[in-house]
């Protein structure tokens, strides 16, 4: 079985994003970029399946500018066998990304595709589901556990208020949630080895995909500052307000 993992280059999770003062976008000049943390979990899961002897090859795909090669090298340093970059400087939105990844999947024919459940920059949480729809495959989103048995994939999903277990036919799309695994540390020698692993670069046009954005960014702003409310006298008054005014208990 071949596994394909999708990885996105995104703002590092330690870095606070800040709107540009003219509101035209988020200021990313000289900001540290890393692999989206949920995608790191996806990569880890693919490698673990391969290490357990259940996958013959793992491939990482990224969509974006040239620098995404670094993100793919990180995936390869973690253990993925090779990388594919669909290189574009356009603002590619989830639907376009899903279409591009589908085009790569049509060529590579993997049986399992793992993505992070969302990227920590645009917080869309769409690409995996859209990809599954375009492929006509089942989707195991927000996965916290994945197991292969009898040609089916059992996925444990983090849902509001608990865990849901579903069975999927193969091939399938899985999106990784935080508790699926804890990604490994990248080892120095593996970074060197990753430099020599194959990395193909494709253009959206080669794949015949139109990546024109469907959503226009009108502006960005900092969230309005929260303002202090009222001071209550005592516990009774607090409970009364929570029950009858805010209606939250």
């Amino acid at each position: 079985m071949k596994i394909l993992v999708a990885v996105k280059r995104a703002i590092d999770y330690n870095v606070k994003a800040r709107p540009k003062s003219d509101g035209s976008g988020v200021d990313l000049a000289n900001v540290k970029m890393s692999m989206n943390p949920f995608d790191e979990i996806a990569v880890e899961e693919a490698i673990r399946i391969q290490e357990a002897g259940n996958a013959s090859e793992t491939i990482a795909v990224s969509v974006g500018p040239k620098q995404c090669q670094e993100t793919l090298r990180t995936a390869m340093a973690m253990g993925v066998d090779r990388g594919v970059l669909v290189e574009t400087d356009e603002d590619v939105q989830p639907l376009a990304v899903a279409k591009l990844i589908k085009a790569v999947i049509d060529k590579e024919q993997p049986e399992l595709v793992i993505l992070g459940k969302q990227a920590i920059d645009d917080d869309s949480n769409q690409t995996g589901q859209m990809l599954a729809a375009l492929l006509g495959w089942p989707q195991g989103t927000f996965a916290c556990g994945v197991a292969l048995a009898d040609g089916k994939l059992e996925v444990r999903r983090e849902i509001d208020g608990g865990i849901q277990t579903i069975n999927l036919t193969m091939p399938a799309v899985v999106t990784a949630d935080l508790r699926l695994n804890e990604p490994r540390y990248v080892k120095l020698p593996n970074i060197m080895k990753a430099k020599k692993k194959p990395l193909d670069v494709l253009a959206p046009a080669e794949l015949g995909i139109d990546v024109t954005p469907r959503l226009t960014l009108v502006k960005v702003a900092e969230p309005p500052a929260r303002e202090g409310g009222v001071k209550v006298e005592d516990v009774q008054q607090l409970i009364d307000k929570l029950r009858n005014e805010a209606k939250v208990i």
Partner: protein, 547 residues
């Protein structure tokens, strides 16, 4: 378990200006001579530039020598230095003072040193230098004969108690013929080398300053690219060494910072709060009105100058940049000297490594040629000329200004005497002999508290790891620091790492290691040198953009 090892010709610890310049120079020489040379840089920050913080006005002298076509290569030196101002502040007023000759910035550039390093790293990578950010050199390795064999990176994934966590990875050994230590001021490995090889034996003690910096985006109407202001005086008293900078960069950005000599005496002094208070001066505050603070950070600098330069070489390695202490104090510049030292080291190392066909040529050798060459460069001449300025501040601000004028302008640095330094950690007076300082409360617009400041430095450390701020004696913070000096670590740390919190009727020291911005002030100023700063897991610490 045995650690894996990798072999290089040269390993460089630290991806700052000196380390990067050394790597580039080595590869340039190898390319010129057609020889093959493997060079690796280890950087504890998550990326090159993540831990770099500087004013900074840089003198391009070393860069001109290293990469004369830096402009064509797109180096981020965008803002030529413009008008210089030097202000002497009293609480209410500002008196323009003649700009001291060393502080003349004609031909210099206002830059983000972090971005300059990011660009230098690109140049180095194009020359096939292997750069590994996110890996901290945690240990020096030695051959049986006592010479340096290389370094080991820290283990990853240890739990808080030191046990092996689920994703534990043992550190790696990096072996090299020569290991170049370019850790910057108060390097944690450099410190161990000082002891092991007695490198400071013939040098004055190193003395330090702490620089606290903020980056602001100001009203375009008030922005004057290239404008340079330095101040002395208020809020420091006349006997405390300190001053501010305000540099206008491109894109409406302003770098504002404050440097305080760590030889200050009053344990109640808080460098962070002095910096905040400085911004409220009537001559200063106006330009920050309606502006937005976008970044914060702090870093110690070596200010001992010429007489504090240690022995630079030892078997198997050498010291570069601010790890050795090449800052020109009156110029308040060290980037050009750091780079020059790296380039000079590279030349000395290359000559030995390339001298013979023997694949072990230079392995573990002490290349004293580095020091000899350095003494013949402009770096040496420059630092020698200003050696008496900083120590003269022991006499107070005004006598120091008069003396410095005399020493550098009249005697031109050729005075037949050299003034001495005293170690910073011995300078604190008992709290009982000092007056507590009441700092104004932060207003959240111009002045801020420590947590909201550290927030802007994007600092993080993996939570589950042993504390990297180690105490030689767990009792000292309470029995000595708190009892005698009113707990100065709670104030000298610019990141709120050290807090004394109530514990029953007593107090105990809480170390919030996650906040640490790697400035090294605690390692320097702790009165009994009880705090030993060691490297946390690689990748931890601040993530400074544009600093």
């Amino acid at each position: 378990m045995e650690r894996e090892a990798m072999e290089f010709d040269v390993v460089i610890v630290g991806g700052g200006p000196s380390g990067l310049a050394a790597a580039i120079r080595l590869k340039q020489l190898a390319a010129e001579k057609g020889s093959d040379l493997s060079v690796c840089i280890l950087e504890k920050g998550s990326e090159i530039g993540a831990h770099i913080l500087s004013g900074a006005v840089i003198e391009p002298r070393a860069l001109n020598e290293l990469l004369p076509d830096w402009k064509e290569r797109g180096a981020p030196l965008h803002t030529p230095a413009g008008k210089d101002r030097f202000l002497l502040l009293t609480e209410k007023r500002a008196f323009p003072f003649i700009t001291p000759p060393q502080m003349n910035n004609h031909g210099n550039y206002i830059v983000s040193l972090g971005n300059v390093c990011r660009w230098l790293a690109e140049q180095a990578e194009a020359l096939e230098v292997d750069i590994y950010p996110g890996f901290a050199a945690a240990e020096v390795l030695y051959h049986d004969d006592g010479s340096v064999k290389g370094v080991a990176t820290g283990d990853m994934g240890r739990a808080r108690d030191g046990s092996e966590g689920p994703n534990f990875e043992l550190g790696m050994e990096l072996h090299a013929k020569q290991t170049l230590f370019a850790e910057g001021c108060r390097g944690s490995l450099t410190k161990t080398l000082f002891d092991r090889f007695d490198l400071r034996q013939d040098a004055e003690p190193q003395v330090y300053g702490i620089g606290i910096k903020e980056l602001w985006e100001i009203d375009p109407a008030k922005h004057m690219p290239g404008s340079i202001t330095h101040t002395a005086g208020w809020p420091m008293d006349m006997s405390t060494y300190g001053g501010a900078w305000i540099y206008h960069l491109e894109d409406n950005l302003v770098s504002v910072g404050f440097v305080i000599g760590l030889d200050y005496k009053n344990p109640y002094l808080s460098p962070f709060d002095e910096m905040q208070r400085f911004k409220t001066h009537p001559a200063i505050r106006e330009q920050f009105e309606g502006a937005r603070r976008i970044s914060y950070g702090a870093r110690a600098i070596s200010s001992g100058g010429f007489q504090s330069i240690p022995k630079l070489t030892f078997p198997g390695g050498m010291l570069l940049g601010d790890a050795a202490g090449f800052l020109n104090v009156p110029k308040i510049k060290g980037t050009h000297t750091a780079m020059k030292s790296g380039m000079t080291a590279a030349e000395a190392v290359f000559d030995v490594l390339a001298a013979s066909e023997d694949e072990n040529a230079g392995r573990g050798a002490e290349i004293t040629d580095y020091s000899e060459r350095l003494e013949k460069t402009w770096l040496w001449e420059e630092l020698r000329g200003v050696r008496n300025v900083k120590p003269s501040f022991h006499w107070g601000l005004l006598p120091a200004l008069v003396y410095s004028g005399l020493d550098t302008v009249i005697l031109r640095g050729k005075a037949p005497w050299t003034l001495h330094h005293r170690p910073d950690h011995e300078q604190l007076l008992p709290a009982a002999e000092c007056t507590p300082i009441a700092y104004p409360k932060p207003d959240g617009k111009l002045t801020f508290d420590k947590p909201s400041s550290v927030f802007l430095s994007n600092t993080n450390h993996e939570e589950e790891q042993p504390c990297h701020l180690t105490l030689k004696d767990e009792a000292v913070p309470v029995t000595l620091n708190l009892a005698r000096f009113a707990g100065p670590e709670a104030r000298f740390c610019p990141a709120g790492v050290y807090e004394f919190i109530p514990d029953g009727d007593a107090q105990r020291l809480q170390i919030n290691a996650q906040n640490c911005v790697h400035c090294k002030t605690c390692d320097i100023k702790d009165p009994s040198q009880n705090i030993n700063w060691v490297t946390p897991e690689g990748g931890g610490g601040p993530n400074y953009p544009n600093m």
